[in-house]
Symmetry: C2
Subunit: 338 residues, 2 copies
């Protein structure tokens, strides 16, 4: 799902790489990948950016790529991918230098004015913290609780401003930052059948004694989809926010490729299994963290397996096309006044 959503944003990153202002030699060109996870979705965008940059600076100039994520991220998987994967951007490029930064991107993690090109995909939808419990769902978008909506909206606005503020410090004058994130499309969060299946699975696990009511009450997916207006809000004053401006902002719906496969194959089990696997990878750890004993406790693995199986069964029984709304943005760091 996430790999499919990348392509339109990668095109924006490539275009930015062709035109962005670069720090002068002999200093390296710095690229930052904010929210890299295990790196599988970083290879294509970073390779594309490197190809475009290499046409400008030649093969010898050092290009540093800083991959950031939280301290608990699997950086070993990232470096194993980078050093062994046939598609790694290290292949055939001896002047590309990857590094990892295990710190939250809600603080400054790179030197001021050091980054020429930034990339962040499927990352800024994650809030810096859980701002409130959600009494009737795990995703605030499908809750009917006004207090939860208010708390999540406030946190989402604050986190977006924080993210923009610290990135503005890190970006060098004339730099570009390309962002791909979950969005609201005509007010729709999307993924409705999936979230209903997740919540129904959790409810059934309470009934069968696998989970307690308290555990499910604690379960929250701390992600938000922002509307175009919410993404643009910090820039209301003259189109500028802390030296950043919006060069491109577009909310679009990505095709549900898993649904397309189902239409071609008629295989409803595969449809359920693929969406369940996506859920497991993307939100399984967040939900498991609410278990008595924690996300690394003895019940976590069984819980995640069981949840995945129940989601798969429910979606296979009543397959529906998912709406996948996304926003892509290009933010430009102002050049200094001449």
């Amino acid at each position: 799902v996430q790999a499919a959503g990348l392509l339109p944003a990668v095109a924006l990153l490539e275009q930015a790489a062709r035109t962005v202002t670069l720090t002068p030699p002999p200093w390296p060109v710095n690229i930052a990948d904010y929210g890299c996870s295990a790196g599988h979705n970083s290879l294509l965008p970073i390779s594309s950016a490197l190809d475009a940059l290499r046409q400008r600076v030649g093969p010898e100039r050092a290009i540093c790529v800083a991959h950031t994520d939280l301290p608990g991220n699997d950086f070993t998987a990232l470096f194993e991918t980078l050093t062994t994967d046939a598609d790694s951007y290290l292949r055939g490029d001896r002047a590309a230098f990857p590094s990892a930064i295990g710190r939250s991107f809600y603080e400054q993690v790179l030197p001021s004015e050091s980054v020429s090109l930034g990339w962040s995909s499927w990352a800024i939808q994650w809030l810096s913290r859980v701002p409130a419990p959600i009494p009737d769902q795990v995703q605030v978008a499908y809750s009917r609780d006004p207090a939860a909506h208010t708390a999540f909206a406030r946190q989402a606005a604050e986190d977006w401003q924080t993210f923009l503020g610290v990135r503005s410090r890190e970006l060098s004058p004339g730099a570009r930052l390309v962002v791909l994130t979950m969005a609201l499309h005509d007010g729709e969060f999307g993924y409705q059948p999936l979230l209903e299946a997740i919540y129904a699975a959790l409810t059934s696990m309470i009934k069968e004694g696998f989970l307690s009511v308290e555990e499910v009450h604690r379960m929250v997916i701390p992600t938000v989809a922002r509307s175009e207006a919410e993404l643009a809000a910090p820039f209301a004053n003259n189109g500028r926010f802390k030296g950043l401006g919006i060069e491109h902002l577009d909310v679009f719906c990505e095709e549900d490729r898993i649904w397309n496969q189902l239409e071609a194959s008629g295989d409803t089990e595969e449809f359920g299994a693929q969406w369940a696997a996506f859920s497991r990878a993307s939100v399984g750890p967040s939900l498991a963290a609410a278990l008595e004993g924690g996300g690394r406790g003895p019940r976590a693995a069984e819980f995640i397996n069981e949840l995945e199986a129940r989601i798969a069964t429910r979606l296979a029984a009543a397959p529906e096309r998912m709406l996948i709304p996304l926003a892509k943005l290009v933010l430009a760091r102002e050049n200094p006044p001449c």
Copy 2:
């Protein structure tokens, strides 16, 4: 053991930080920590270097710290230490920017001429590969096999030259690199009672059917201690090797603090336990990698526990002071010709 050996080398690093040529602002000052492991032995030296540098460049200038180790290293532990430990150099320094690089330091991992200050402790004794089996020990220093000695000596010389060559490219003119590593002192490798206990423990585990003869034959600790002459060998030609020179080279013996504790307390069990714990952490994974099923296989944990217990018992039964020979070096990168 390793933390105790640090102090004399940290003094050299501090002195280098006070005098080393720095890249000009606005660019960051770059420090590299080659072979960081989980970072516990990096906090003290890097903090000391940062303190000395801050006196020269003030609190605002960005100082980047690149911690390198192999891809499989526990970088999560590194970042958890850096972001939560009370002794982390990030405390109170908002312009210090750590990163991790999961690549072998036998290749270039940072841009050319980018590093002002390098540090490497207890790291370059690890060879880039196992050059030969050791038929009668796990540590070549205590083998009587001439072929093993020849193969390890050749690999040690080659790896040292490779390390120096790639570091020379990374260091900026006038930079310094401080190295602490295992060494031969008057031809002695040291740790003799410990290595005899390790090999005796492995042999007893064959007899009791816990290990096969083939497994123990495959077990190798791929570390070497180099003599002062071996460390100096690449510099034989005019004292220079690829733009590097030796500013300081000293082989010394570190006190056995575990023995000192025993003399004070008389607690032989504690003596055995502490040396066994050191062995477990430093060489357990290398030995477990030779198991049928590999170092992550089902028998690995039990093997490492059993090995540690047997080493502890043997050392407690006949405690002896260990010889701990180390070398400390300061390497200087030439300034460009004026």
